[in-house]
Symmetry: C2
Subunit: 344 residues, 2 copies
């Protein structure tokens, strides 16, 4: 559950920040949706719903993709839509199996664009071993959409004993991050704004399910996992800390951030802790599991730069702090407003 | 499978007609999507994918809703999104269980609108006994969307022996329709265009799952069901006839159409066979099942006006004809282009 202090806005209209994955998004979810839609599984606000079907536990997750531009270094809206939903399933420990694909097309979209995106979807689904089994297409008039919006909804199978949930997190646990922060967000922003990063930075958009399988096989002490997309690492950890009623302390020096991301963030006044990722995960694990899980992460291509970045502590419930390289400690709050619209 | 004769358009861009549920939609699905996404379940083009999960058969379906206006006599985008997905599950004989809810909001949408729609969603889900267990919200800039688009994706459980598919249809089968045609489409068009119908016509938007349960209990001889939404009854029957390799003959005098719908269609040059419905189903049943199933349909409020409207015949594969009240017989083809954009 996201805690909502005094509202930052009294707006009676939807703001771009309502889509940012931070505090405003949390307010919208609490005050508009959860107040009216009261299913206990929905109220948990996990990245996926897990329920028992006769003979199996299934995970179920949905995501719409409105990323702008449709094509960017390292990916496109099609592969992003597949990997994003695969990752939401994987964060619950589920093995992705089936996916639906729904598109809202704007009149006038070049068919070639649609074909290219569909090919990318097919390749991404094949890579993840997920079957796209049902679909839908709608068309809206020119000016009522923006090229192409995609919804993917996924079903995965959760092996018997796995129970990953923010509620499992307890003081003493270790926080692991699978790789560098901000690659996706900065790539999108640079492409959109025409900023030349003078380097080969790409989106990290990628499927995390194989890494997760290796981590789960390595040790049973994984409490909870999240892929820090909109709102970044800061928002993901704040959500977990609030649910678990714990505090967290991060070590800035251990958080991998690539030089061009660091440079772009300084230039643009952004904090990489809040920038979106599309191929990274943060895992909270029992202390005795940390070494084994970290080794398993580093053994994969996507987890090569995995690092132990902090610890869970007793104390002020929901508080996330970071000790800087200068020895200071500062609070890492939820993202307020929208750092970068239409990042995914 | 939708048969695709010579293309009606050589456009290299998305047209509104690509969303109309008729021939252009079929071309888009075949030439862009199915060429690249080759899962056998997807290729079946049923309203839902049914697959085996350990211990159960599950149905899975997705639908995006872009209806304009958001509120209309008899419903709104919220209840429509729930019932639409419930109906796609029910058409496969599945009992709806779980639903995801994904919204794409346009910056500036009044929060009150979002609250009203969410309340409608909650009521509709409760009416159908379906749990909304996972969700997503995205926001796009003002001018990049149109108020509110909704995707609902549903999971249902298919009881053991049920196997409804267009491929089951054979000559001699009877075609049953659950009620009057065109109420939804004409209601939306009248509201959007400011036409005064001088009557109380409402959308027929409603959940069909209870009627389906009664029909299945009444007789095991149901071959296939469809809810004739975009593209209307004509397109639904053309699709079934093409898959089954049969022809169909309808009896115009037996097809229930309300007077205001008939009047509006005459005025606007529309054929009610092509107008969208959101609370009707067409069932193809074995001849020995027809009476029992029809009684079960009529026993429900939504099926009060159910009627036997035609028969399946040998002969030219995929051909659907109608005998008019004047004794003539005419071909009822797929919808070409888009009769009415953004009807659902």
């Amino acid at each position: 559950m996201i805690t909502c202090p005094a509202p930052l806005t009294t707006s009676d209209r939807v703001l771009l920040g309502h889509g940012g994955g931070g505090r405003l998004s949390g307010e919208l979810i609490q005050k508009v949706f959860l107040k009216r839609l009261q299913d206990p599984l929905l109220q948990r606000l996990d990245d996926q719903a897990i329920f028992d079907s006769p003979g199996a536990r299934l995970a179920f997750t949905t995501d719409s993709f409105v990323v702008k531009p449709l094509f960017f270094p390292g990916g496109d809206i099609g592969s992003l839509a597949v990997y994003g939903t695969v990752n939401d399933l994987a964060m619950g420990g589920a093995i992705p199996r089936y996916m639906s694909l729904a598109m809202i097309l704007e009149e006038g979209l070049p068919l070639e664009t649609l074909e290219t995106v569909t090919e990318s979807i097919a390749r991404a689904a094949e890579r993840c071993g997920v079957a796209i089994v049902t679909g839908d297409t709608k068309v809206v008039e020119h000016g009522s959409g923006d090229g192409l919006f995609i919804n993917t909804t996924g079903i995965g199978v959760v092996p018997g004993t796995i129970d990953l949930s923010a509620a499992n997190v307890r003081p003493g646990d270790v926080i692991l991050l699978s790789g560098s922060l901000g690659d996706h967000g900065i790539t999108i922003m640079a492409k959109r704004e025409g900023i030349d990063l003078e380097c080969d930075l790409e989106s990290d958009s990628a499927p995390l399910d194989q890494m997760v399988r290796g981590m789960i096989e390595a040790h049973s002490g994984i409490r909870c996992m999240r892929d820090p997309t909109r709102g970044g690492l800061a928002s993901a950890l704040n959500e977990i800390a609030a649910v678990a009623g714990v505090s967290m302390r991060l070590d800035e020096a251990r958080i991998p951030i690539k030089a061009p991301v660091r440079g772009a963030c300084e230039l643009l006044g952004l904090d990489p802790l809040y920038v979106a990722n599309e191929g990274k995960l943060v895992a909270i694990v029992a202390p005795e599991a940390a070494d084994a899980v970290l080794v398993a992460m580093r053994a994969t291509e996507l987890g090569h730069d995995a690092a132990r970045i902090g610890v869970v502590r007793e104390g002020r419930s929901g508080l996330v702090t970071i000790s800087t390289s200068l020895g200071a400690e500062r609070v890492v709050d939820m993202l307020s407003g929208d750092q970068l619209p239409r990042i995914c």
